[in-house]
């Protein structure tokens, strides 16, 4: 089956500044692709290129199997939801939703029917005669979604649609978008700088930095096997601990040594990996460091660590210590015995760690 | 074809204006510059003959008067209008209940034509029947106020009328500026016990530097362009005592039939405007690029 969206060797530059470099992305019907990265990474530009709102400097782009590289936005069979919602301020909600159909010359009866359908679906019937200025942020968001839904396009594009909402509403709308995706089975491309949004919504994530794709994969691939230090650091909250360490070949596998400011270095044995260079950066997710008394399992290695700070966060308690010259965070149970200033025996799950080359930042295992 | 039209529509819409500006602003400036380098008199000639018109210009006593009048008039007009405007703005900023009405009164002259302003002040300053006669009628028999007909003083009547017309506008600019200063800074200063006048001199006025610049640009621009006011108030007289470059240029172009002189004096005006406006525009446009 042809990809619903396929981007090959796409470059985009403004004058001599390259915004996007050699982008290759393909998604299937029903995929939810999230483009994520820090601001200025080119993710919104890429979305605008997909929409046809920005011309592409080099490369090709096809939607639904048809080449769309030079096709204008209106003929791409897409719909788009914008960060500021971009509702037409002088039109009522109903007119906002039907404007596109009116421009395309859809007859009035079909317009009314589709409007009714979408309004029911999004529960915005009571708002139809209001102007955008009279709506709350969440309502505007719904109207913007309605304007996209009514189009019934091949591809939905979302440009940070939740970033203008308050925290609570954002979580609600996130769930709603996910439900919508599951119900419609539609293909979506979604831009965000929020890695939690990316993890929760995506079937496929593209992590970008400086106009270059850093990694593309399912949320679990991205989370568990980050391709480089940037992805490791960017995805996950609290971020993955990235600890400078030394390795030595050992009979059973690799012996890892982590310096400490006080006391002897921590030594851990990794039995899964071999052939690591001497200097590595060890990547451990906070949840892979646990109370030694509670966690068992393969690849488990214990070490006694001095806890500097304890941060209770309700469901979890975070313990911060100093290892290899870095702050290292462990995600512990809420009822942990950890006390600031005291030692605690911690278990490192070496079955799930990542190794990165300190010079290039690339993944080693 | 439709796709081409669709893509190029913005450029097509802009094109006529672009061509018009190129011809009617920049082309015309070029034409004037060219003619200012020729021996044109009643009709333009196009053989370049060096800076002879500029030599004639700067050796003409009438131009000397006009050019120095520009600086006397410009300096007094700008400085007094700024001081007056700022004073009025600060006075009006003290929670005046009738502020709206007072502001309307201070600003209405800006809606009038300079010709109307000139006509009114010409009548008021008329020595025979105007202010002078009125004050004498009150019993001050020796009161004289004949600046309008005194070649040494006439230029100051132009200053008075110009200030009357434009100072309200400066007030409006400054008032807007005063109110755009961050209220939290002012509150913080008040909590610190800083007296009101110090709040103005140390916080508010320095924060309005861009407004001063804008006011200066607009006023100097008005001063250089001043033409109607002089024509209506003094007609450039007595003699040519109140000539400004603008009236000099007009006289040369349309009464004396000396196109070369008209063109060269227009170019000098242009350069004065350049010297003031170009650095300003440059900085304004640069800030926007960042």
């Amino acid at each position: 089956m042809a990809s619903i969206l396929e981007i090959n060797n796409l470059f985009k530059s403004y004058g001599s500044v390259e915004i996007l470099k050699d982008i290759n992305v393909a998604i299937e019907q029903g995929d939810f692709l999230v483009l994520v990265g820090p601001s200025g990474c080119g993710k919104s530009t890429l979305l605008n290129c997909i929409a046809g709102l920005e011309p592409i400097t080099k490369g090709t782009l096809s939607i639904g199997g048809q080449d769309m590289t030079h096709v204008s936005p209106k003929d791409r069979d897409i719909a788009m939801v914008f960060q500021s919602y971009a509702l037409y301020p002088t039109m009522t909600v109903a007119k906002n939703i039907t404007f596109g159909m009116k421009v395309r010359g859809v007859d009035q009866a079909t317009q009314d029917e589709k409007l009714k359908h979408v309004a029911t679906q999004l529960q915005i019937e009571p708002l139809l005669n209001r102007k955008p200025g009279q709506l709350s942020g969440g309502q505007r968001q719904r109207v913007a979604m309605g304007r996209a839904l009514v189009r019934d396009p091949k591809l939905f594009l979302f440009d940070e649609p939740l970033s203008n909402l308050d925290a609570k509403l954002r979580v609600e709308m996130r769930t709603e978008i996910k439900a919508l995706h599951q119900r419609l089975g539609a293909s979506m491309v979604y831009v965000t700088h929020d890695q939690i949004e990316a993890m929760t919504l995506a079937t496929k994530i593209v992590v970008m930095k400086g106009g270059v794709i850093q990694q593309m994969g399912t949320p679990s691939e991205i989370y568990n096997h980050p391709a480089n230090l940037f992805v490791a650091d960017f995805m996950g909250s609290p971020a993955m601990n990235l600890i400078p360490a030394k390795t030595k070949a050992n009979g059973k596998g690799v012996q890892i040594e982590i310096e400490r400011s006080s006391g002897a270095p921590i030594t851990l044995i990794d039995t899964k990996n071999k052939d690591l260079p001497e200097n590595v950066i060890l990547g451990v997710r906070p949840e892979d460091i646990a109370d030694a008394t509670l966690r068992g399992g393969e690849g488990r290695q214990e070490a006694d660590c001095l806890i500097d700070i304890v941060e209770p966060a309700g469901a979890d308690t975070f313990a911060v210590m100093q290892l290899g010259g870095k702050h290292v965070t462990a995600r512990l149970h809420a009822e942990t015995a950890a006390v600031a200033g005291k030692n605690l025996n911690l278990a490192f799950d070496l079955g799930k760690v990542s190794y990165f080359a300190p010079e290039t930042g690339e993944r080693l295992n | 074809m439709t796709k081409w039209l669709e893509e190029h529509m913005p450029k097509l819409v802009l094109a006529p204006s672009f061509i018009i500006v190129l011809i009617f602003v920049y082309g015309f400036i070029g034409w004037t510059a060219w003619v200012s380098l020729t021996r044109s008199r009643l009709l333009p000639k196009y053989e370049i003959d060096g800076f002879i018109q500029y030599d004639r210009l700067f050796s003409s006593p009438r131009w000397e008067t006009a050019f120095s009048n520009l600086f006397v008039f410009g300096f007094l007009f700008i400085v007094i209008a700024m001081i007056l405007g700022l004073t009025l703005a600060i006075l009006l900023d003290q929670n005046i209940r009738t502020e709206g009405a007072i502001r309307t009164i201070y600003l209405y002259p800006m809606a009038l034509s300079m010709i109307v302003t000139g006509t009114a002040w010409k009548w008021i300053l008329n020595p025979g029947l105007g202010l002078e006669a009125t004050v004498r009628g009150w019993g001050f028999e020796n009161f004289t106020f004949n600046w309008l007909v005194d070649p040494d003083m006439a230029i100051y009547t132009v200053v008075i009328a110009a200030i009357w017309q434009s100072s309200g506008f400066v007030m409006a600019l400054f008032l807007a500026g005063l109110r755009s200063v961050d209220q939290e800074i002012i509150r913080a200063a008040q909590i610190d016990g800083i007296p009101t006048w110090r709040v103005y001199t140390a916080i508010i006025i320095p924060a309005m530097a861009p407004i001063f610049l804008s006011a200066f640009i607009v006023l100097s621009h008005l001063a250089i362009k001043s033409f109607d006011l002089v024509i209506a108030l003094t007609g450039g007289g007595p003699g040519y005592a109140t000539d400004l470059p603008a009236t000099y240029m007009y006289t040369m172009a349309f009464s004396r039939g000396d196109i070369g002189q008209a063109a060269s004096s227009a170019m000098i005006m242009m350069m004065v405007v350049f010297a003031i406006v170009v650095p300003y525009l440059y900085s304004e446009l640069r800030v926007k690029d960042d």
């Binding site: 709102l53 002088t90 | 802009l14 018009i20 009357w164 409006a172």
Partner: protein, 297 residues
């Protein structure tokens, strides 16, 4: 509002405060008199007879109100050899101002829309060239314009003056609309493009309905500028096509007959009435235009 009057009453002697307040109001009142005096003198003089003007003083009210001067100013005063008052010239001004205002506003709106929302290479250069055009002293274009109008067969005609006012008004109208449209998020244009709307559709359905405030500001600004213009009027018109400002100046400086100050004043008020009316009715927009025209950004 800076609210300075409610600053903490540290040196709070009540009498001092009241005295200060009174001083403030008296100063504001005196300035108000300064600004009002010329208008007052114009109005009273226009209702006086010439005899009274010669014997009375400037600021006294007319002993006997007469409309004779107004009648003369409107339909009898001499502007050179013609003695028809300012009436024909008043209508000339109307005929010049209305089309010139409408055309320059419409073109400025389209230009501003392009520059602010359809950025392309060169659009900024265009805007900079336009902006600079606002500042040139018009003396520098008078001579070639006179020749150009001659070539176009528009010399001394009302269409010629309309043409001149449209051209040299474009800089400001473009500036006004550009600054207004630049504050409208470009996502609106993008959304409309995705919805399938084209260049003019977006302008007509989305931007124009949003533009009422800036249209009012621009129209008022242009009307005031064009109505009050003297330089173009005196340079490019002939006997029958002069605008009212030129006619007023001719009446005042006419050397034939007795100097009729009351007629001068009546004519001046007539010439000033349209813009004064606009100012009184829509002063807020007038001020906004003034400040927008000077504070760029």
């Amino acid at each position: 509002m800076t609210d300075m009057s409610y600053s903490p009453p540290r040196s709070g002697n009540r009498t001092v405060k009241i005295a200060l307040r009174w001083t403030l109001y008296i100063m504001l009142g005196l300035f108000a008199l300064f600004y009002l005096m010329p208008l007052f003198v114009m109005v009273t003089t226009s209702f006086k007879s010439l005899d009274e003007i010669r014997t009375g003083d400037l600021i006294s009210l007319p002993r006997e109100v007469t409309f004779e001067a107004w009648r003369t100013a409107w339909s009898g005063a001499c502007t050179g050899i013609q003695c028809e008052g300012v009436r024909p010239f008043f209508w000339n001004s109307v005929l010049i101002a209305i089309p010139a205002v409408l055309l320059s506003t419409l073109i400025g709106a389209l230009n501003g829309y392009v520059v602010a929302q359809w950025r392309f290479r060169g659009a900024n250069l265009f805007f900079a060239l336009m902006l600079f055009g606002c500042f040139i002293p018009f003396q520098v274009v008078l001579l070639p314009m006179a020749r150009m109008l001659g070539l176009m067969g528009l010399a001394g005609t009302i269409p010629g003056l309309i043409f001149v006012h449209v051209i040299y008004g474009l800089g400001f109208t473009t500036l006004f609309f550009r600054n207004y449209y630049v504050s409208i998020p470009s996502e609106l244009t993008k959304a409309a493009k995705v919805d399938g709307a084209g260049f003019f559709r977006i302008f007509w359905s989305i931007f124009l309905p949003l533009s009422l405030p800036i249209i009012v500001v621009t129209v008022i600004w242009q009307f005031t500028q064009i109505w009050n213009d003297f330089l173009f009027g005196v340079s490019f018109s002939q006997a029958g096509t002069q605008p009212v400002t030129v006619a007023l100046n001719n009446i005042v400086n006419s050397t034939t007959g007795v100097k009729a100050y009351n007629v001068d004043m009546a004519a001046a008020i007539i010439a000033a009435l349209p813009t004064l009316f606009v100012y009184v009715v829509a002063g807020k927009y007038f001020v906004r235009g003034l400040t927008a025209g000077s504070v760029k950004g």
